[in-house]
């Protein structure tokens, strides 16, 4: 092996590379595409999680849509207000109010408070279990508790505690992936400011609820009578709060004989755990 051979090889291959490089540099000048620089700026601000909760394929697609005017500047649910403000700054518009929402599981029928119809030992997945007689819990609309939502959550914000899925406010980015996966459609987006909500969605009458769940809403309408703002109503045998009307006074939660209305303290204080006096173990 001659040193000259090595130098020759380097020169020839390097030369080819150099020539192509120069040609490409020239071509890139000719075929330059005018990209709106705002797109790149916005993309730099976005979290880059590509979660898709804004409804676009990813952060890049969202940035493009914002510049084109098809997406709102506050469309990023992960970045929330700080990102919306910066994006609005780039676009030269007002950010408006970012309505922060968080996913909530509308069930608290945990292992300690429900009656099980049978012991389920099939495929470890909510959808499979739900097809099997509606799940092992007596309540047909209760949380199946096998954590399909927890598995799909890209932020690790859902945990199954005692057979009921619980959302961690801090981690939840309201991307809505869990909502699509829940076979019982129990997960809903609730405004983050909302400190009271009803954690039951069963459509059965109180008589049936009493038979299989200690935590279920019996539709007694006491909350409805207590509310000064016409914000809570019993529909389909369970109470539903109208978040637009609710002033978060908490009267309904105090009055509820079943404790089915969650009441978390004002921001700053640690939220009360929804699941009551149950040991820290799964089922």
């Amino acid at each position: 092996m001659n040193v000259n051979n090595i130098i020759l090889a380097v020169c020839v291959v390097g030369g080819i590379g150099l020539i192509f490089g120069l040609l490409l540099a020239y071509a890139s000048h000719i075929f330059k595409v005018e990209v709106d620089e705002r797109v790149e700026k916005i993309q730099g601000i976005l979290p880059g999680a590509n979660c898709g909760s804004c409804g676009y394929a990813g952060c890049a697609a969202f940035a493009e849509a914002v510049v084109n005017g098809t997406a709102p500047v506050n469309g990023c649910t992960v970045g929330k207000a700080p990102v919306a403000e910066k994006v609005a700054g780039i676009m030269g518009v007002d950010a408006g109010e970012v309505k922060e929402v968080v996913a909530r599981v509308m069930c608290t029928g945990d292992a300690a408070s429900v009656v099980y119809k049978f012991e389920y030992s099939g495929i470890d997945d909510c959808k499979a279990a739900a097809k099997f007689g509606g799940g092992s819990k007596g309540c047909q609309s209760g949380c199946v508790g096998l954590g399909r939502c927890a598995k799909v959550c890209p932020f690790g914000a859902i945990e199954v505690k005692n057979g009921v899925a619980v959302v961690d406010d801090e981690k939840c980015q309201a991307c809505g992936k869990c909502i699509k996966e829940c076979p019982k459609a129990l997960i809903k987006l609730v405004p983050k400011k909302q400190r009271h909500w009803v954690v039951c969605s069963n459509p059965e009458t109180g008589k049936f609820v009493n038979q299989y769940c200690k935590n279920g809403c019996i539709g007694c309408r006491m909350c409805e009578k207590e509310c000064h703002f016409d914000a809570i109503h019993v529909e389909n045998n369970h109470a539903i709060i109208d978040y637009d009307k609710c002033k978060n006074c908490g009267l309904c939660a105090k009055k509820c004989p079943r404790g089915v209305i969650v009441s978390i303290p004002r921001p700053g204080a640690k939220p009360k755990v929804v699941v009551k006096d149950t040991p820290e173990e799964n089922q």
Binding site: V12, I16, F20, G21, L24, A27, F31
Partner: protein
């Protein structure tokens, strides 16, 4: 001469079809063959790259590699040329056909590593080391053969999309089965031969 040209064209298109007989370039063949429109675009891009790559590699091989005794660097030099050409095609498409550019997505830069393109150039220097015309012809017709296979596949897949296929067979499983059956069908051409 004329017979040889026809023979090269036929063999590159059918009897030695790159996808169906030589099994080269399977990645874009499966990846972009969901719609007829994108498959034509991909086929055209590959044709362009293959034709240019055939010409450039022939020149480089003849003018640089052989005189300097660097034939052992063929693969790396050819890859370099192909990568440069693909980059050029990408720029060109982004400028003039943005819709096709976004439809092809990742598969466009992936032409760089498309083994069909490298395969064509390497087969060319092996089979037609002296004839620029044959090299170019083989390159163009191999690419057209690739386009043909893609087009057939895309047509079949579009029709299959409307069939009620069992859930576990939907998508890639059916595509792979289809590709296998098509490959068997292309084997039927192997009886053809025009001398040359």
């Amino acid at each position: 001469m004329a017979l040889q040209i026809v023979s090269i064209m036929l063999s590159a298109l059918l009897t030695e079809n790159f996808v169906m007989v030589k099994f080269l370039g399977i990645c874009p063949f499966l990846g972009v063959s969901k719609k007829v429109e994108t498959s034509i675009g991909m086929g055209m891009a590959v044709t362009f790259v293959m034709a240019l790559a055939s010409a450039f590699t022939w020149i480089v091989n003849k003018a640089l590699l052989i005189p300097f005794g660097l034939v052992y660097l063929q693969t790396i030099a050819f890859i370099l040329i192909i990568a440069g050409l693909v980059q050029f095609v990408e720029m060109f498409m982004k400028k003039s056909m943005p819709a096709l550019y976004s439809a092809l997505g990742i598969y466009l830069p992936l032409i760089t590593t498309n083994c069909a393109v490298l395969g064509v150039t390497l087969l060319n220097v092996q089979n037609y080391p002296d004839s620029f015309l044959f090299t170019l012809l083989y390159g163009v017709f191999a690419a057209l053969g690739f386009t043909l296979a893609m087009l057939l596949m895309a047509g079949i897949r579009e029709a299959l999309d409307e069939e009620s296929i069992p859930a576990s067979f939907r998508g890639f499983p059916t595509a792979l089965l289809t590709a296998g059956l098509m490959a068997i069908a292309f084997m039927g051409f192997s009886g053809f031969s025009l001398g040359g």
